[in-house]
Symmetry: C2
Subunit: 331 residues, 2 copies
């Protein structure tokens, strides 16, 4: 069986990953370094000649493979959202497609809890005061996390993992997600965002971006949060009415920890960069392995894909297979 | 039965606390506002005239009450460490003494986890880079807490609570505390600090300050931590050889989150205030209640004491009673 890779230096296809890929019994691995010079026809022919395509953020997979796949039976896509790389015709065809599945969940949940705890204790304000020769006398609003009602907006991979990490703090947890029906017994479920924002001290967003969630965190909802309430967003920037949130941050009424914005950057001289009630982590919360573990492990993320490729080679079922419904929910 | 309070505006004896105290059936509460003008004899006489003394950070309790207590049978001390307020003769006498017991544990543990997560993701570096118009491209060392071996030095109230909060992260947890024999099954126990520092990525200190622990985190131990290793201390500053730790921070090799220092302050122009691999929270991690809960709750801390005073009035056993052994371990 043959696997085709377009070599990239982006972490998703590290030397350790490629080595582990080459070690899969019964798999011949071809890596293409100079694909940028290939025309579309040559690209299609290359892909038709392989059983497995290990695809990353480029090149895009031509739609015509859906009608004439040649040998191609499985595309292992190394990231999450894939619209720009893999079109709907491919998803509808017999070619199997997988992505990284629930891999980002734990990382996003950990990012959310880190930002929540950091804002709860006003770390930016403390760090800046210490640098300015002061730092005594800062009293944060909120004594213990256990006193808080924490609202989780979106109970998918990330939201579930966040609630699991938060559990020992014994906060009240309120969940809004109209698409799930298995909210844990120790959480409160509400059926409208109104009911979430009107009772919670903090809102933690783990929803996907859809037409329904876009701009769904409105000015009116933000106004329902108490003074010094906290908004955490490690999901998608466009879920929040950002102008409204920025008004609340500029006035100092709310606190926010945002890994994502919309658009997902700020000009160098944007006033928000100076706000002491905002932590913005530039959509780059991911870390690198510890140096003492760098020697050749493909990591949890690489293992998701390696497990799937091994399963495909051995004729076992795949994890995180993308069908039209899951594809339509991607952003 | 009569209780004597020396009124103070320090949070320990808030209006909500005093109101709850006055509501205890069978208890008459006397508050003294102008005790600073009383001489020692008058102070002793006042205390002899009450069954219960609700004591805060001043005035000190005269030792002669141990020999001639009058009516005084119970001192409810509203804080933790008490050497400057209550002397050993009182502890050795028939007068019962309690303190806030395990009250600070959850707050310290929460502080430790907040600092650990914040350093793990280099929040100071990120916050400062964003302010300077940048912030992209920061990659922290360490992908997931689950990859880490986290060393807990001291497994008392704070250490236990920290391990409880950390459990869902599924890190490897290694514990050093020669005075306990009930380490959880999912943790590793070591019998020397050497064995802690040589295997862990991060050290979280929850030990008390004794002659044994003073300066016990030596230069040699710190050198055993890996590059970008993390030291968290919310216990006592003097446990660490601070000059050695500062050398490791100045060089950028380690990261640290410190609520306490020794001495417990830094000059306005101290270089450590500018280090991006250090968060120092000035021994002031405690927060204030949310505004919407301010209306009249004595809080978890107040309840510890109110429960004890109610128990004493009703002749039930007290919690967190101080004997000579516990007293000798105080700092």
């Amino acid at each position: 069986m043959k696997a085709l890779c377009f070599a990239q230096e982006n972490g998703a296809m590290s030397p350790a990953f490629l080595k582990a890929l080459r070690d899969i019994p019964g798999l011949e691995v071809e890596t293409i370094d100079d694909w940028a010079s290939l025309d579309r026809t040559a690209l299609v022919r290359l892909m038709q000649g392989s059983d497995i395509l290990v695809a990353s953020r480029s090149p895009a997979v031509p739609d015509e493979l859906s009608e004439d796949p040649g040998n191609l039976k499985y595309i292992c896509y190394l990231h999450g959202t894939m619209r720009r790389i893999i079109g709907l015709p491919i998803i509808r065809s017999a070619i199997k497609v997988t992505n990284w599945g629930d891999h980002p969940g734990p990382g996003l949940a950990q990012a959310s809890l880190t930002l929540l705890l950091a804002l709860f204790k006003d770390l930016p304000k403390r760090i800046l005061a210490v640098r300015n020769g002061d730092g005594k006398g800062i009293r944060s609003v909120g004594e213990r996390i256990s006193d808080m009602n924490i609202g989780v907006y979106g109970f998918g991979f990330g939201g579930r993992e966040f609630v699991r990490l938060l559990r020992p703090f014994e906060a009240t947890v309120t969940i809004y997600d109209p698409y799930v029906d298995d909210v844990p017994d120790d959480c409160i479920r509400v059926d409208a965002l109104n009911d979430l924002f009107s009772v919670c001290h903090a809102i933690v967003i783990h929803a996907g971006l859809t037409e329904e969630t876009r701009n769904s965190v409105t000015r009116e909802l933000l106004a329902m949060l108490p003074d010094q309430g906290i908004v955490i967003n490690t999901a998608r920037g466009a879920i929040i009415d950002q102008a409204a949130l920025f008004d609340e941050l500029r006035s100092g009424r709310l606190r926010a920890g945002l890994d994502v914005l919309w658009p997902d950057d700020l000009p160098e001289d944007h006033e928000a960069r100076q706000w002491e009630n905002l932590i913005w982590t530039c959509h780059q919360f991911r870390g690198e392995p510890w140096p003492d573990e760098r020697a050749g492990k493909p990591g949890q993320r690489g293992n998701v894909h390696l497990d799937n490729i091994r399963a495909f080679v051995e004729g076992r079922p795949l994890q995180f297979e993308i069908d039209e419904v899951r594809y339509s929910r991607m952003t």
